[in-house]
C-alpha cells in the first residue's frame, strides 16, 4: 500500500457500470513504492468514506480491482484506511526517504 492525501474528488455521469455509486478520490501520494508511472496524482475508489484533506492508505493493483464488488472494476487503486497518526523512526539508517513532491506527512518520531 502507499501513503497519500486526498486532495479532490471526481464526479462523472457517464462511466463504466462497475463504477456506479462509487466515490472517486484524487490522491496526492507521499510515499509510493515502485510507481508504474511517475505522476503527481492518482484516482482511487473509496472503500472507507474518506474526505478531502485526510491522509489515507491506498491499496494498488489486483486486490483493489477485485475487492469491492462481485465484478472486477476498471480501477487500480482503492483507499483502504484513513490515517489517524503516523510514527516514523528518526533512525532510518542510511536510508533517505524520498517523499513524492517533497512534502512529508505530519508524523511523530519514534
Amino acid at each position: 500500500m502507499i501513503l497519500g492525501r486526498v486532495v479532490g474528488e471526481v464526479w462523472a455521469t457517464k462511466k463504466h457500470a462497475a463504477l456506479d455509486g462509487r466515490k472517486l478520490l484524487v490522491i496526492e501520494p507521499y510515499l509510493w513504492y515502485a510507481p508504474s508511472h511517475e505522476v503527481a496524482h492518482l484516482v482511487a475508489v473509496d472503500a472507507v468514506g474518506a474526505g478531502i484533506g485526510e491522509d489515507v492508505v491506498v491499496c494498488m493493483g489486483d486486490p483493489a480491482r477485485r475487492s469491492l464488488g462481485t465484478t472486477s472494476m476498471p480501477i487500480e487503486a482503492a483507499v483502504c484506511a484513513i490515517v489517524d497518526r503516523i510514527e516514523l523512526a528518526d533512525d532510518r539508517g542510511a536510508r533517505a526517504l524520498t517523499f513524492v513532491g517533497g512534502d512529508e506527512p505530519e508524523h511523530d518520531s519514534i
Binding site: M1, I2, L3, L31, W32, Y33, A34, A47, V48, G49, A50, V57, C59, M60, G61, D62, P63, A64, R66, S67, L68, A78, C80, A81, I82, V83, D84, R85, I86, E87, L88, A89, D91, R92, G93, R95, A96, L97, T98, H107, I110
Partner: protein, 85 residues
C-alpha cells in the same frame, strides 16, 4: 517478496473490512529511498529486517484460501529475518 526494514507505523481507526485489528507498518525498501505500507501479522518491531509479500499474494498472508478476495491488501509482512548466510 521484497526485503526491507520497519521504519514506522501507521495508525488508523477507519479501515476496510478485513483489516480491522491489523497493524500497518511503514517498511523502507532495501536499496531504495522509498517505503511502503504493509500489514503486519507477526508483531514486527521498528528496526527489524523483514520480507514483504506484495501484490495478490499478500492477501494469503492475512487469510489463506480462495475466499480472501474481499481483502484490500497488496503488501503484508510474511517473515522477520533472524539472520542470513
Amino acid at each position: 517478496m521484497i526485503r526491507g526494514r520497519v521504519i514506522g507505523e501507521v495508525w488508523a481507526t477507519r479501515k476496510a473490512p478485513g483489516l480491522t485489528g491489523r497493524r500497518m507498518l511503514l517498511v523502507g525498501v532495501d536499496g531504495q529511498d522509498r517505503a511502503m505500507v504493509a500489514i503486519d501479522t507477526l508483531d514486527a518491531r521498528e528496526g527489524e529486517a523483514v520480507m514483504v509479500s506484495v501484490g495478490s499474494g499478500a492477501r494469503n498472508v492475512l487469510a489463506p484460501g480462495p475466499d480472501n478476495r474481499a481483502l484490500l491488501c497488496d503488501a503484508a509482512i510474511s517473515l522477520i529475518v533472524d539472520g542470513e548466510g
